[in-house]
Symmetry: D2
Subunit: 340 residues, 4 copies
Amino acid sequence: MLIVMEKTATPEQIENVVSIIEQKGYTPRPIPGGERVAIGVLRNKGPVDAALFLGIPGVKDTVPITRPYKLVSRETQPEDTIVTVGDVAIGNGRLTLMAGPCAIESELQALTIAEKVKAAGAHIFRGGAFKPRTSPYAFQGMGEEGLKIMARVREVTGMPIVTEVMDDQTFDLVEAYADIIQIGTRNMQNFSLLKRAGRSRKPIFLKRGLAATIDEWLMAAEYILEGGNTQVILCERGVRTFVNHSRNTLDVSAVPVVRKESHLPIIIDPSHAGGRRDQVIPLSRAAVAVGAHGLMVEVHHEPDKAMSDGAQSLYPEQFVSLCRQVDAIFRILQNGTDAI
Amino acid sequence: MLIVMEKTATPEQIENVVSIIEQKGYTPRPIPGGERVAIGVLRNKGPVDAALFLGIPGVKDTVPITRPYKLVSRETQPEDTIVTVGDVAIGNGRLTLMAGPCAIESELQALTIAEKVKAAGAHIFRGGAFKPRTSPYAFQGMGEEGLKIMARVREVTGMPIVTEVMDDQTFDLVEAYADIIQIGTRNMQNFSLLKRAGRSRKPIFLKRGLAATIDEWLMAAEYILEGGNTQVILCERGVRTFVNHSRNTLDVSAVPVVRKESHLPIIIDPSHAGGRRDQVIPLSRAAVAVGAHGLMVEVHHEPDKAMSDGAQSLYPEQFVSLCRQVDAIFRILQNGTDAI
Amino acid sequence: MLIVMEKTATPEQIENVVSIIEQKGYTPRPIPGGERVAIGVLRNKGPVDAALFLGIPGVKDTVPITRPYKLVSRETQPEDTIVTVGDVAIGNGRLTLMAGPCAIESELQALTIAEKVKAAGAHIFRGGAFKPRTSPYAFQGMGEEGLKIMARVREVTGMPIVTEVMDDQTFDLVEAYADIIQIGTRNMQNFSLLKRAGRSRKPIFLKRGLAATIDEWLMAAEYILEGGNTQVILCERGVRTFVNHSRNTLDVSAVPVVRKESHLPIIIDPSHAGGRRDQVIPLSRAAVAVGAHGLMVEVHHEPDKAMSDGAQSLYPEQFVSLCRQVDAIFRILQNGTDAI
Amino acid sequence: MLIVMEKTATPEQIENVVSIIEQKGYTPRPIPGGERVAIGVLRNKGPVDAALFLGIPGVKDTVPITRPYKLVSRETQPEDTIVTVGDVAIGNGRLTLMAGPCAIESELQALTIAEKVKAAGAHIFRGGAFKPRTSPYAFQGMGEEGLKIMARVREVTGMPIVTEVMDDQTFDLVEAYADIIQIGTRNMQNFSLLKRAGRSRKPIFLKRGLAATIDEWLMAAEYILEGGNTQVILCERGVRTFVNHSRNTLDVSAVPVVRKESHLPIIIDPSHAGGRRDQVIPLSRAAVAVGAHGLMVEVHHEPDKAMSDGAQSLYPEQFVSLCRQVDAIFRILQNGTDAI
């Protein structure tokens, strides 16, 4: 951290800040400049709290310099993390496609969709058994019954399954069924849930919060790694901005930034980003082109009868087209970006 | 809901939408316009899912018309909800001041601060025993020990206490000690926690999420009321925007809007909104002037030694000044706005 | 427009709104619902001002239904607009690449860069002669001297040139030299400039404002078309959000939305969106994959000596790689999306 | 500026950055830390361009330290700027109220409103003769005829007048009539207009852009001061965020920040911030309570017949109430904040 002093700071004020830094066990390094003094805070470990300095006489501002995360950082682990579930590996240089309905509604519905998305090229089946819903009056998911149906889908199709966990109470249950456990957008900073996920032996699929910076998102992942679980997949799904023509704003630049900062794989969810069916395929192409390791896409064979998020679910034949398009784009990236 | 058809929609496409509306059990009402047709969806109860119509041939857009919440709405309950804890009533026409440290650090710290804020005019003591922290390496709070200290503060000073609950596992524990249970910003849409809060017999202090619309915030409150707990206090604490001179952007207009839409009391937290000590008093004045029912303010007698959020904590003498200023402003509102 | 009445609105209040609608020359169409009445406003032309109804007793809200733009709408002109300059056509089914330095610094600099970008595959040369700069102390561009250099580049390389106009006073001058006239982000709602552009006989390259909705952006284009100039190219270059890892947030979903709503071609500027060199190539791939008609990219042969925006300028060899990658992606879109 | 090196930066890379700094005429100051090296850039004048360093091998990030503005800074001029027009002074310790219609529609309308707002306590009459409108089909203002009517209002009432200028072509005209010249939100970074304003002998009323940071806003003011005109009044009028219950989000914390950073007076426009009549009075109270030097408020005697922005215009009797309330709040600030 750098502490920037007011131009008018007195030598006594500077000395006072220096001694506070020393009291906290850090090493102060004053940097006299042309107009004002700044004081570097050299430290042993962990971030320094700006709170210690803001408001002290003569201090104008504090400037953080290093990133707060450690275990998720590529500076700690230079090589990519590859997450393996069954025959599928995420982040290993192949594109991973996760697809399925927003919510599990029945065994027939789940199997129908699963077989269609598998035939199109999906590797992992997604589906919601416990659904976080803005309204208490909306369909909240089938619960364990939904999990059993998903297990049946796995049995029939061979695809690993990913599904959301909403709380600690149902974590053991979800963990018992799922191959990958999803922590949703609204729970990205549910720290109790993150700590529980850190003790899980299953990979965690961590969606970015609606208004989370990349630092905050990686810190949420840090909770999981710090707890002992290194199998974390990040998922960008759009952030909230003033833009109103899509449900959220897909932040594609998050992909190169995350890939540079962290060794964890990153997936994009174009369905929740756009929120409308006609944006899903274009956003999927952009997601793969920008360098994501995979996609999570909502597909429903009868979207106008879906019990949630039907408006953003693709028809199975659209998903076939999507797979064809993104596979072609992904092959270009594999062949063509070596010179970048 | 209103379904807006494309200008080029055919009579068959319009007829198809009409029949889908009927199949869902709603009443369609086509409205032929100059340029295009719109179709009203009249309904019995609950919101209609846009998903049912977006993507159907000939449909251009859907437009929600009514608000999704019921129990929190002033249309359901015209008179103000007054939340009572001990001798203190929130929303009864008097200004409620909640103050205390971000985190409970020791009995001495808590009692020192509590006596100072009480002397200045605070009615309720705030303090964190379980702390949601962005970093897993940051101080996470004293846990039950902190709750015991807060109970001791109540015993000594007579002030009711408000403290945050982070998860279901510790809900019973927090409920046993607290007079008011806080659900924090990052948990505003932790629906499991909201449902548990709905079964509590203690008032709930529900902070607005960082990127939550008022509709989403009121829907989170709706979860609690729907569960049977009508004692909910809303707290605006700033939202996340592009603005970088304050930690968050205090959305003062939320106060008149919430007061018009809902019967629940609304408090402002200027400390987390500004994130810097020198903004807290001006924001507090704005908060009371705009019509909030009260304030929640962080105060610490040694903010440069605080274990969290010291940079935004007021010195006790600043809190004295704050109380004096906001009381004077509140009296004007009581006397002077009858003509509005 | 739809006027939503309060649940408690009286028949007299409803009747009053109906008569106001009639006084304004519109046709009212009341829609009695289960809980409340809404009143449709049918109209002959142009948008209805919400101001006429908000605040009238019994009115809860107004809901706009139709889009405010006309000439730029695909409902007015279903077929794509193709903008032609010299041998280059924009929006004709081929990918258009515009490249060059942020600012023209010298003839040698401009020619050096122009020949490199042309060799790599660029079709149009970009460069700034009049530069909008946040600081009055920053380099403001070479002015007419810069325009002359650009004309020289055109003469030598055969590439058409695009450059920014900042005001009415210099419009004639810029128009005399440029093949395409750029209106920058900060001037998107400089209505005097838009009106002047509407009288120009040169194509206009209209960048989206930092916080502009698509409606506002298309309305800015509407000013130009309404003035008589139908040759408008839209350019998405990132919007301002809370996100801080890129200079702006590239809104890729703007492309499918604009292409659906309007017949005008849309280009993406990945350089200003990312603001950092290492984001430009990934964002370019995303831009082409999502369906943009072309790219505008900053390239400099000595970016660390550039007089503005060097940090986001590609090295010429990076631009070679970019062209190769986006061409491959664009070919996939031409071949592969017929089934979408 | 501080240049943060990668942990893995080699001594050669560090040496290279040091020599680049020297080549540019700055003084490098390396700061070896526990984990990585940072290099301070000490300079004589003006900001250092990050572009010079981002992308150089071994460089992780650059961190700006000092503010880019000079003349508007309180570090340059510690005492408040007081802007005087006729008998009215802005920023002199009294509250300044500017009021009037959005657009001048007729002499009768203007005089009617002017006399009502003057009687209520307004000091300056506002009104639009040239109107920036999102739609080319909307009423664009009366032009010079409107200016003549405003001059007539001044003659009759004695109130100075403030009105917007939209471009260079009409600057002389507006300057000839107006006492204070307004530069609107959409023109905050119209640099040609700012330069012209810098040559004006009339005070400039500079509205904040929809997505402008305070740094950018103060830099826009810097253009005017740098041009020789020191009479600048800043106006906060809400910024664009995801929030949809008000037209814009009033950023009240801008007031204490601007007052700390700059010596220029700051006014709040609650009418454009809220965009709805029922938010104007609460926001006005907040504006004065937070410390603004004054308000600019839209008032219309027949808002439902107004030609623009009627929905946010107060009735004259509401403005009477507003004046009474904010005067009382302002008196408290004058008396009561000495201890802050």
